[in-house]
Subunit: 257 residues, 2 copies
C-alpha cells in the first residue's frame, strides 16, 4: 500500500474524482496542469487536452496496451506501477521499463501512428489519464508549444534507452544494480543512505535485465561494498565505495537525462 502515498497531492483529488464507476469528467479540469508533461503549457492548450482526456482506474495485471496493436490513447500514470515489456517472435519477453506515477508511456507509438512495440501491464491497481491519440495528434500538428513539450519528452526517453543499451552491453548485473541503488539516493553528498525498493525483487531483476537468482547474487556481491538488505529495505553504508564499483557516470544523473 505504500505506493498509494507516493504523490499524495494528486491522490487527494483523485479520491474525490473517481467513484467506483469510473471517471468524472468535470473534476479533471485542473488535472492536466498538474502533470509535469504539460505543466508549462498555457491554460487554453491544457483545456483542449483535458477535453480529450479521461481518468481511468484499473486493477492489477491489466493490459493497457498490447504489443502489435494500434495506439488509441496516450497514458499518463497517476498512481500505481506499470511494466513495459517487449516480446520477441519466439515468445520470450523482456521487461524494458517499470513506470512510476506521473510518467507517461507509448508516446512514440502515438506520435508515429505505428503499432505498440511494448505491452504495458499494470503491476498493481492503477489510476491513469488516457488521452485520445488522434485528438492529441490533431493538437500537436497545429500547436508548436504542445509539439515542443512532447519533443522534449520523447528525446529524454530516447536518451534513457541509449543508456540502457550501453549498460546492457558494458556492465555486469552487479554494476547495474549498484547504479540503480545509487540513483535512488537523492542527496549526492551523503555517504550513507537507507530506503525501500519501490517494487519487489522479481520485477527489479527483470528491469535490470537478469534473473531473480542472479539479482540475489548481485546483492550478495555488493555486501562487501557496504550494501545491506532486509527484504525490500536497503541500507547503503558506504556510498563512495559503491560508486567506485558502479559509477553512475556523470551522464546518467537525473539532470542530464
Amino acid at each position: 500500500m505504500q505506493k498509494l502515498t507516493f504523490y499524495s497531492q494528486i491522490d487527494h483529488r483523485a479520491d474525490n474524482r473517481l467513484g467506483p464507476n469510473g471517471a468524472d469528467m468535470q473534476i479533471t479540469i485542473d488535472l492536466i496542469g498538474t502533470l509535469p508533461l504539460f505543466e508549462r503549457l498555457e491554460p487554453s492548450l491544457r483545456l483542449r487536452i483535458e477535453a480529450i482526456s479521461e481518468t481511468i482506474a484499473v486493477g492489477a495485471d491489466h493490459v493497457l496496451s498490447l504489443q502489435g496493436t494500434m495506439p488509441k490513447h496516450l497514458h499518463v500514470l497517476l498512481e500505481g506501477q506499470v511494466a513495459l515489456s517487449s516480446t520477441a517472435a519466439d515468445g520470450t519477453t523482456a521487461l524494458v521499463e517499470v513506470l512510476h506515477p506521473l510518467e507517461h508511456f507509448v508516446l512514440a507509438s502515438v506520435l508515429t501512428r505505428l503499432p505498440y512495440l511494448m505491452t504495458a501491464r499494470t503491476v498493481g491497481p492503477c489510476r491513469l489519464v488516457a488521452i485520445d491519440a488522434e485528438g492529441l495528434l490533431g493538437i500537436v500538428e497545429r500547436e508548436a508549444a504542445v509539439a515542443n513539450v512532447l519533443l522534449h519528452s520523447v528525446s529524454r526517453e530516447f536518451r534513457t534507452m541509449v543508456c540502457q543499451v550501453r549498460d546492457l552491453k558494458l556492465r555486469t548485473a552487479a554494476q547495474r544494480l549498484g547504479c540503480y541503488l545509487l540513483a535512488r539516493v537523492k542527496d549526492g553528498t551523503a555517504e550513507r543512505a537507507e530506503f525501500r525498493l519501490p517494487f519487489d525483487k522479481g520485477l527489479l531483476a527483470a528491469r535490470l535485465g537478469c534473473r531473480q537468482e542472479n539479482l540475489s547474487r548481485a546483492f550478495a556481491a555488493l555486501r562487501s561494498y557496504g550494501v545491506e538488505t532486509h527484504g525490500s529495505r536497503v541500507i547503503l553504508h558506504d556510498i563512495p565505495r559503491l560508486k567506485a564499483l558502479a559509477v553512475p557516470d556523470e551522464l546518467s544523473d537525473p539532470n542530464v537525462l
Copy 2:
C-alpha cells in the same frame, strides 16, 4: 569506394558543390529539400533551415560530437558512415549504431540542450550537413510543422532503441546476426539473396553487441542455415530457414519502425 555510389543523385550535386576547400553555401539551396527528414516541409521553412546549415567534409576517424560536450549542430550524413558509441565511466565503449547516408544523429541532444550521450566518429571520409543547434531550436519552437517532422523522427529512433534493448536481452549473437542479414534483403518474398556487407566485420560485430571472434563463430553457426560468406559478400541460400532461426518479427520490419 563502393559507398560513394550509395546515393548518387545527391553525390552528383555534392561533387559540384564542394570544392577541395569546403562548402559553398549558395549551392546548398535545394539540399535541405532532398533530405528525407525535411522533404515534406514547405519551401519557406526549408529555406530558413538552409540558412543555418552548412555542408562539411571530413576525413576518416574524425570526431563530430564528443560524449559529454554540448550540442552545437544537428548532423545529417550525406556520404560515408558514422559510428555512434557511448563510453561508460570505466572507459569501456559500446557501439550503439552505425549510420548510413541520409540518416541524422544527435537530434535528441540538440532538442533537450543536454550534453551528447554518444560520441559520433566518422568511419571513413564523410560529407555531411551541419545545422546550427540554437538556430534550429528557434525554428522548432515556433513552427509546428518543423516540430512535427522532428517529433516523428525522434519517435522512430526511440523505437529502434527499444528493439535493440529487447534484442540484447533476449537474442543470441547468431540470432541478431541472422536478423541483421534478413533486414538487408528488401524483397520479402525471395527465398535466396546475395549482397555485400556495408562495412567490415569488426564494425558489424560491435553493432551487434559482440566481439569479432564471436561474430565469426556466429557466421559459422549460420552456415547450416544456408548462409555463405566470402569476405564481405554474403549469400543467403535458404531465407525461410534462416527466418525460422532469427525471426525478424513483424514489428522490426521497416514499415513498422
